[in-house]
């Protein structure tokens, strides 16, 4: 595994060049990730600059199960020499999981600010919901608040062609 040179950001500390970063999940599991892969996450990028001591970075919002997959994603996307088509195919397999897991990925990507993962997972959910009826959407997102029948009728009437 090749490692990339450290980034030349202003906040980088040259006195402790790190190659592996340690992360701790909400349920106490520890994971190691290459610095280049960790930099896919803006959150981690900021944290790495601040901390040189080598203690694992705690991520209370991400469970071990999900963090393992996020590490896998970031590592794959930091790999040099992967062509676009293979990466796309790999991504498609990566998100070929059940809905609850995709949502977990989204929340992790949002918390860790990983634009590539967030974009990928949002596209997946958009594709999942595109053809659904409003009722199916409510079930999908567990939405409780709804309209009164009169309000819903008004919305349907405003854009009736969309319901045909």
């Amino acid at each position: 595994m090749s490692s990339s040179p450290p980034p030349s950001s202003a906040a980088a500390s040259p006195s402790c060049p790190k190659k592996m970063i340690a992360l701790r999940s909400s349920d106490g599991e520890t994971f190691e990730i290459e610095e280049a892969a960790a930099l896919q996450s803006k959150t981690l990028e900021n944290m790495i600059d601040e901390d040189c001591a080598g203690t694992p970075i705690p991520l209370p919002n991400v469970t071990g199960k999900i963090l393992a997959k996020v590490v896998e994603f970031c590592s794959k996307h930091a790999e040099p020499g992967v062509d676009d088509e293979s990466l796309r195919a790999w991504d498609a397999e990566f998100v070929n999981v059940e809905q609850a897991t995709v949502f977990d990925y989204i929340l992790a990507a949002n918390f860790l600010e990983i634009p590539t993962l967030l974009n990928l997972t949002c596209n997946v959910v958009a594709d999942m919901i595109r053809g659904k009826t409003p009722d199916e959407i409510r079930k999908f997102f567990n939405i409780k608040s709804i309209f009164s029948p009169e309000e819903e009728e008004e919305v349907r009437r405003e854009n009736h062609w969309a319901f045909e």
Binding site: K42, T63, N110, F111, T133, P134, N142, I146, W161
Partner: protein
């Protein structure tokens, strides 16, 4: 990025817990992420999803959501055009229908729009997908994406009462990027029987009720053509003293500037286009015989210098189609691939129509047959020919009621 929401700690077992129906329970997504997902969906789906819940309706109707949605539309490469097809052979009001024309497949699918107030309205391409219709009295704005048509408040040119004669009007829609508002420009030209010409111009900000008079407008003749770009509306017209001009309305200041056409180029012989972000004059009269398209491109408004760009299509482009195309309208979609599209102006019943696509770099022409179910709706009028006109198609969810 969306705001980070508080999430309670979950143990490993929680992830494996299933609902009664055997499916795992999905976590709730914060509103910022819902927005990020919804903005990727087509307009029709989003309009349907307005009735999911009050927060969703509010989110989808919000102008800032429409703004993000539009930014994504404009960043995508356009592969379809909006086309109006009219039956002009009938006396009186003509039947005009709209279609989406796919540049790659040639497929023409109907876009049913609410009945326009008048079928004799002049249609002008606005901006951001909006089109503007004017029939002399009433001016309307239409968003083909949401299939909405909104009539603008009525107004008159305020010519002096003793000024009588034949009058024509022109209108188009532009976008003022400074104030983030849409504005409509309307011009009236009155021909007095004694030979004089009078002009009046007004501007309306969409969403408001009153028209403002525009002073010091150099336009005193009918519009030969018009085009909107971000922040300005350009009008191609003639001027009795200076010859042929482009009058540009800066939408922020609502003041006009004027630009002369290149030597020897006449307003009636060219069309206004945007070519790679620059204002350009398109001359296509020698297309059929000499396979030539000429563009005069304005690199920089301040320099006022037009650069001539001549494109010669390969001679074979019009072979194998059985007859020389009588006339073609040239379309340069703003967010297109950069290809120049040639769309037949007249489509004849009983014959095949083609869409041509010319790539400026490779100088190659691709030909695609235009087909689609709806032409038959015109045939009940025993029509022999239909007039076809292309417009930029931009997906835009902004409701004309929330502008």
């Amino acid at each position: 990025m969306a705001d980070k929401s508080e999430k309670k700690l979950r143990s490993k077992e929680d992830d494996e817990v299933s609902g009664r129906d055997g499916e795992a329970v999905s976590p709730e997504l914060p509103v910022g992420i819902i927005t990020d997902i919804l903005v990727r969906l087509p307009v029709k789906t989003l309009l349907r999803f307005k009735c999911v819940s009050r927060p969703w309706r509010s989110l989808i109707s919000d102008p800032s959501f429409a703004s993000s949605f539009l930014a994504r539309s404009l960043a995508r490469q356009a592969v379809t055009s909006l086309v109006s097809i009219s039956d002009l052979s009938q006396p009186g009001p003509s039947l005009c229908q709209f279609f989406r024309l796919d540049h790659q497949t040639g497929l023409c699918a109907p876009v049913p729009l609410p009945d326009m107030p008048s079928n004799t309205a002049e249609i002008s391409e606005g901006i951001h997908g909006f089109i503007c219709l004017d029939d002399g009295g009433l001016t309307c704005v239409c968003n083909p994406s949401t299939r909405e048509v909104a009539a603008l408040p009525l107004t008159n040119p305020d010519f002096p009462d003793d000024l009588q004669g034949e009058m024509s009007s022109f209108a188009t829609l532009g976008y003022d990027s400074a104030s983030k508002q849409y504005k409509v420009l309307k011009t009236w030209i009155l021909y007095s029987p004694y030979g004089g010409v009078a002009a009046a111009h007004k501007v309306l900000t969409l969403g408001t009720n009153s028209w403002r008079t525009v002073d010091d407008c150099p336009i005193k003749f009918p519009w030969d053509d018009c085009i909107s770009e971000e922040g300005a509306i350009h009008i191609l017209t003639r001027d009795s003293m200076r010859g042929n001009i482009v009058g540009t309305l800066d939408l922020a200041s609502e003041k006009f500037r004027m630009l002369l056409l290149p030597e020897g180029v006449r307003a009636v012989k060219v069309e206004l286009k945007l070519f790679r972000g620059h204002l350009a004059l398109l001359e296509s009269r020698r297309l059929r015989d000499n396979n030539t398209i000429t563009l005069y491109v304005l690199d920089d408004y301040r320099s006022r210098a037009w650069k001539e760009l001549r494109m010669v299509l390969p001679r074979s482009w019009k072979e194998d189609i059985g007859f020389p195309p009588r006339s073609l309208r040239i379309s340069i979609p703003r967010n297109g691939s950069g290809d120049i599209l040639l769309i037949p102006t007249i489509i004849y019943k009983q014959s095949v129509a083609y869409l041509f696509s010319y790539n400026v770099e490779s100088k190659r022409v691709k030909k695609v047959q235009i087909h689609g179910p709806p032409f038959h709706i015109f045939y009940q009028y025993r029509t022999l020919s239909l007039e076809c006109r292309p417009f930029d198609l931009v997906d835009n969810i902004l409701s004309l009621n929330h502008v």
